[in-house]
Structure formats: C-alpha cells, structure tokens
Subunit: 223 residues, 2 copies
C-alpha cells in the first residue's frame, strides 16, 4: 500500500475517533512530520478526503474537518430514502442464489447478536449491517448508484446508529432484513423497495431521538 493510502486511512480514523474534532484543521506539515513523509502524499490524501466529504478545503488556509449539523443528517436520510429502495428494486431481478444465502447468514448472525443485546453486540451488528447493505449494492449492479450512496452514507451518521435503537426498534430492523430477503427471493422489486423505505425511515426516526442516548435501554418499552 502506498503512503497516500495510509495517510488517507489514518486521517479518516482520527476523524472518526475524535482525535481531529469537527471544525479543526488538519495541517499538512504537522502530519508530514508525524509520519515522516513529505507534504505531497498528505496533500493527495486530503484531496481524496475532500472529494469523499470528510474535510473541506479553504484555499490557502487549510483542510477543515466537516461539522455535521442536524440538517446534514436529515439531508442524508432524505437521499437514502430515495436511493436505498432503488438498490433493492434493481437487486430483485438480478440477485443470485448465493448472494441470497449470504444475506440470510448475515441476517441470522445479526439476530443472534440482537438477542445478546450488550453494547459490544450492538457494535458488531453495525458492522454486519454495513456488510448487508454492501451485499445488496453489489447485487444491484449499478456502479453509479453505488458511488452515490458511498458519497452520502458516511460513517459519522451510521457509526453509532444502532445505539440509538430501542430493543423494539432493533428487532424491527431485523424483521426488515428478513422481509427484504423474502421479497428479493420472490423477485418482487417493489415489495423489497417498500420494506427498505420503511427500514430507512425507521432508522431516521431512531436517529432523531431527542438527545442522543448511549444506552440500548428503550425509553418507553412496552409503553
């Protein structure tokens, strides 16, 4: 792996773990000294981070880590509600049996973790959920659709997403996965798209919970 790739990954990681807070500047010279590299590969990494939406460049002033407002989050959900159903709409007529099997295994694995319900399990579910969506995008076989989704679904949104879920919301999400698989197996794109739309809207509702909560205890379970 070339230096610019490592720099890209390192900066991205530091943005995610809070080492570079939103609004702070990522200085080319500083990182260059830390990693014992010249500014050239750092610049290239930063440009890629810009085009991926992680940082923004103020000419002659520097690369600033983007700040996410509530409006940004809403904008992303609004677009996911359009694009993710299209993913399964396409996938329904293109997906192969082996891919359906993979999805089934992922869903199964997530359900098991869901039963455990501890914080680490929630984190693992998040990872598997990403793989679930990635598998769907592969099946959709539309490079542009994939690119658009990658451009907007950034981890600042999805990172802690499942920690916002109540138990009931989490179980509902698992049921969505199963129903999407059934719809795809039936080759019914509109069915799959409808479930996916509900899936995203449910995620938005969970995300919009008043102040972000770090517990997985429902606030009004069995209300």
């Amino acid at each position: 792996m070339i230096a610019a790739d490592r720099v890209y990954a390192i900066i991205k990681q530091r943005i995610l773990d809070g080492h570079y807070p939103a609004g702070s500047y990522v200085r080319e010279a500083t990182i260059g000294q830390e990693l014992e590299l010249s500014r050239t590969p750092i610049r290239e990494a930063l440009r890629r981070l810009v085009s991926d939406g992680w940082v923004e460049v103020i000419p002659h002033h520097g690369a600033r880590v983007v700040s996410w407002t509530q409006r940004d989050v809403e904008e992303v959900f609004e677009l996911r509600v359009l694009l993710e159903p299209q993913v399964v709409r396409r996938a329904a007529t293109r997906i192969e049996a082996s891919q359906l099997d993979s999805l089934g295994e992922l869903a199964c694995h997530m359900e098991q973790l869901c039963e455990r319900g501890d914080n680490q399990a929630i984190d693992e579910i998040a990872g598997l959920n990403n793989r679930f969506h990635a598998e769907l995008i592969t099946a959709a076989d539309s490079p542009r659709l994939q690119r658009l989704l990658e451009a907007i679904v950034q981890v600042p949104v999805s990172r802690r997403s499942f920690h916002h879920y109540s138990d009931e919301e989490l179980r509902g999400s698992m049921r969505h996965h199963r129903e999407i698989i059934r719809a795809l197996a039936a080759g019914d794109g509109e069915w799959a798209a409808s479930v996916m739309r509900a899936h995203i809207l449910a995620a938005r509702a969970a995300q919009m919970h008043p102040p972000a909560r770090q517990t997985n205890e429902p606030r009004q379970q069995h209300a």
Copy 2:
C-alpha cells in the same frame, strides 16, 4: 481561483466540446506546456476528473476520456428519475417569488426558440434548459442533492439532447416546464415531482430513439 481549478474546468470543457473525444488520452505534459504549468496542478485536476467520472486512468499509460455506453446512459436516467423529482419536491416549499419569475422567463425564452426550430435555436434551448434545472436545484437548497446530480448528469448525455427530440417532444418538454412552474407556485411538491418525473422519462424516451438522429424533423409527426 487556483491553477488546478482552472485546469479542471478547462479539461472538462474540452471533453464537453469534443476537443478531447471519448477514448482519447489527456497527456499531462501536453496540457502543461499549453497552459504553461507544471505537472503538479495537472495531476491534481486529473485526479478530480477521475473521481468525478470524466476520465479513467490506465496505469502507466494515461488518463483516457471515458466512453459512454448505452448502459451508462440508462443508468443515469434511472437515477435522474429518482433525484430530479426530489429537487422540485423540495423546491415547492422553499422557492421564492423572484426565482419563480426567473423560471418563467427561461421558459418563455425557450418557447420562443422552440418556435424558430432551427439547429442553433435547439442548441440555445439546451443551454437555457440547463439554467432552468440549475435554478430549480438552487431553490431546492440541498447541497448534497446538488452534488449527486452534478456527479451523474454529465453533459455527454445532455449535450445534444434536444436534437433527438421531435417537434412534438420538444413542445411537450416546454409544457412540462410551464406545469412545473405552476405546481411550484401552488406549493404542491408532489404535483411538481410527478411532472418532473414525466419530463425525465420523456427525455429518456427521446434519447433512446433507435439510431441517434441529428435532425429535428420528427420521424412520424402526426402519425
């Protein structure tokens, strides 16, 4: 504006006007000499063009202008059918009177050109049509939606688009503009979205005409 930005714009323009045909190579040294710049800003511009999908890099051989297949065109229309209606859906509740006036003037201007019907008029309509859509995107006030559309609606598709239209198709397109304006004035996002959807689907149908025709004579007018 910094040099790399200019280079980016210049290369893009040359791809659009056919100076760099699809499949041809954009040489770093050549452009550098033309613009009296070093390879550094040219390289940066090319990287951006790659990530924006305008050119593709063949390792150690160069940056090649991408060729559009029929499949690419279909993929883009499929996404426009999703995204462009969303533009007017949002715009309906946000657009201001002055913007509606601008749209009205653009529509009026396009209709006049439509009556002329010669080739140059068709070209001018294409430019005005782009401004029409740009105005809508501005009114929609969603930077991400704008970015996604800019990422996929590349002019290789829309450049000669109206040359594919029959007279009737062209007039239908003008009527769509008017109806979109009416829907926006009424604040009815779903109405506007529906018309826009029809507008894009009509454009796709025109684009898909068997072999691309360079005349604006309808093939089966008043059939």
